[in-house]
Amino acid sequence: MYRRGLTKSGESALATHRSARRHATRLVAATASVAAATLLAACGGSSSSGGGSSTTASGKQIVRVAVVSNSQMLNIEKLTSQFEKANPNIKVVYDTLSEDNERSAVETDITTHANQFNVAMISNQETPTWAKNGWLTNLKPVLSADKSYDYSDLISNVVNGLSYNGGVYAAPFYAESSMIMYRKSLFQAAGLTMPQDPTWQQIASFAQKLNNKKTGTAGICLRGQVGWGENLAALIPVINAGGGSWFNMKWEPQLTSPATEQAVKFYVNLVRNYGESGASNDGFAECENYYGQGKAAMWYDATSAAGPIFQTYPKVAADTGYAFAPSGSSTGATGERAPWLYSWSLVVPKGVPNASAAEKYVEWATGPQYIKWSASKVGWANIDPGTRYSTYALPQYQKAAPFAPLVLKAIETANEEKPTTMQVPYTGDEFIVGSWFISLGTEVSQQISAAIAGTESVDQALKTSQTDAESTMRSNGLLK
């Protein structure tokens, strides 16, 4: 095809070779300079981020805090300058992640003793287990010694959830229970009255009457998203209120028991018939938007939702009434009110550097002064709820937050030791305290989400969940 001695374009081979050589040299030079530039950029970048170092260039102590990206945490990030001004030799750095990612990152850090975080935000689900494993610092001595911290002001129910063997291993940043939020105007227009202490049967009938396909308003907004902290947090109290449970005293799973099945069927049918569309993807944030934009007549969720609704959706907030978390079973049998109890709390892992600086930070973030001071920046309705009695005694808070007394009562009456009417070997209202619960809860929540989406029947979902629970119990040695 090619004539001997010449390339296709007619150049001599030698000329081609020479130009190829020059081309190659230029290419090598270009690659080398790019590589050098990348290396320099990488070196420069890593020294400024200071990953792993515990002091800044100017000798300040670094306190690295892992937080979840909820609005209360985002608020404190903006207000940390007050702490740094009062403690000029401490620099606070935040690692903000979404809930599941933050949990994974913190668990990985603490279980491998990487000590990357000086302070971490965990909940009352992890605290007792991690304290038992010896991974957390006992904060009680430091907190109770400081008079200005007012240790006895902390709500005792919340502190109990964070205690182990007489020590307190986490300081509560904000705590929540559950309640019903409803639109007063929609209730009035339909001639309905919400009692202060409703039952699930009443809620179901309200949802049926207020569900309006024409205006696109759902009767009730309920969580359906995959996650033990998402749809299960809403569903388990319904099971508890109806007399069902996860396990009996012998750790045999009870997910296919009649009471549990009835409660789950009730929840799934309620959200499929009178709940928001696409509920199987809706977690706390999605429901907040749904309710705040006026697309639902009721919302059953955390008490900590009330503040952000005031902040983001003031018109709907002004029209919102509040009632206790529903009690009773779906068949009308009276049961106990089963509110949940959850607190996002700050811990100092054992063995981290700058431990005393970390403890100072924890004291500031959960102290009474921060709560009062933050009101001027975030508004009185939105200050960190559920941790201190004094918060609820503040006259400005009582005026700005109509939900305050109900929330305090709900938090005080939640009982983690006795979540359900049956006797059970576990603690925890909307979760179970135990490291194996994370993966089991996720598996079960996947099944429930599929049932809510309609791709699986409730019976099949519960059967699969039961099998998952049995294998988890066996592999953890709780069930023979």
Binding site: G227, T442, Q446, Q447, E456
Partner: protein, 330 residues
């Protein structure tokens, strides 16, 4: 281009410009031999890069094998003990693992095949000249450049949402209302995002093949009376077959590793089993970061690597024979 046995320096020079000006001993095949010193002087500059690559890729791999032979669960202190092949046995008897394998095959297979079909269509379209071809090409390539997590988030919030999503809005006039794409059609949703991301990749490789097609053959075909469809299926398609296979092989290797889309869209849920979108990468993530069962996750990783190697070797042998059979025209 074949190298004759003749002593032709110019031909050798054209083949590899770096060697031509040096006189060499030539053996029967005409390829010059090098002394051992010269071989090492060529390899030595590569050694730092090679050592770096080996350390960065092989040391973690060896560590993973090491972890997989222990029973380590980071939430259970004291579980980091030698257990031999126990984790592998556990995995093979775990129905969820087999389920994840099947899910991976379904999701990766559908994703690769659909994006290949679309890629061929777009490549044929872009192979013609038309006004705005440059703009069309840029727009068609862009999805491949978007980070997978961003694509998945975009689809989750703006396109698949049952109330506010664009897909339901576009399909509204056809009687589609409030379809919960992510909840009720989870696998379809994940595959849709994968197809959106990978079609440009397939398209580019096939486009390269199309542009190497000889125009004279196509002209001859049309002179002989073949219409567009016949000429596509009988002339173009056989020519680009090996490009399609190459793209499928390369694309599948990456699409099998899909993780971000599953994590953001469905968290592994969906379907009649509740876990229809849990593919192998997501299952390993769950083992490692939900159960904190590091050893089982490591064992699953090793099994996946071995399985992928077996399949890839088999496919490469198949492709290799195909490459040897077909010849470039002209």
């Amino acid at each position: 281009m074949s190298v004759t046995a003749a002593n032709d320096e110019v031909q050798v020079g054209r083949k590899s410009g770096f060697v031509s000006h040096l006189h060499r001993r030539k053996n029967n095949t005409g390829i010059p031999e090098m002394s051992s010193r010269e071989r090492w002087s060529r390899r030595a500059p590569l050694l730092p890069a090679l050592i770096f690559t080996v350390i960065v890729t092989q040391v973690p791999f060896v560590l993973v094998i090491w972890y997989s032979l222990h029973g380590w669960n980071t939430l259970q202190p004291g579980s980091n003990t030698w257990v031999g092949l126990k984790e592998y046995r556990l995995l093979f008897s775990d129905p969820l693992f087999g389920h994840a394998v099947i899910n991976t095959i379904i999701i990766a297979g559908c994703g690769a095949i659909v994006s290949m079909v679309l890629g061929v269509m777009f490549a044929v379209m872009l192979n013609r000249r038309f006004r705005g071809r440059g703009l069309a090409r840029t727009l068609l390539i862009t999805p491949f450049l978007v980070v997978p997590a961003a694509s998945a988030l975009l689809y989750k919030t703006s396109i698949f949402d049952s109330t506010y999503g664009l897909l339901n809005w576009v399909l509204g006039p056809f009687g589609v209302h409030h379809v919960n794409w992510i909840g009720s059609h989870s696998v379809v949703a994940v595959v849709m995002v994968l197809v959106w991301e990978w079609t440009p990749f397939m398209m580019l490789i096939v486009l390269g093949g199309l542009q190497g097609e000889s125009v004279e053959v196509l002209e001859a075909a049309s002179v002989d009376g073949a219409n567009a469809v016949q000429s596509f299926f009988r002339i173009t398609l056989p020519h680009i077959t090996k490009y399609i296979e190459l793209a499928l092989l390369l694309g599948s290797i990456y699409i099998i590793q899909t993780w971000a889309e599953v994590f953001i869209l469905t968290q592994g849920g969906g379907g009649a089993s509740g876990t229809a979108t849990t593919n192998l990468p997501y299952y390993i993530y769950q083992l490692a970061f939900n159960q904190f069962n590091v050893s089982e996750a490591a064992a699953a990783g090793v099994i996946v690597v071995i399985g992928t190697e077996v399949i890839a070797t088999f496919v490469l042998k198949l492709l290799g024979s195909l490459f040897a059979d077909t010849e470039v025209l002209g």
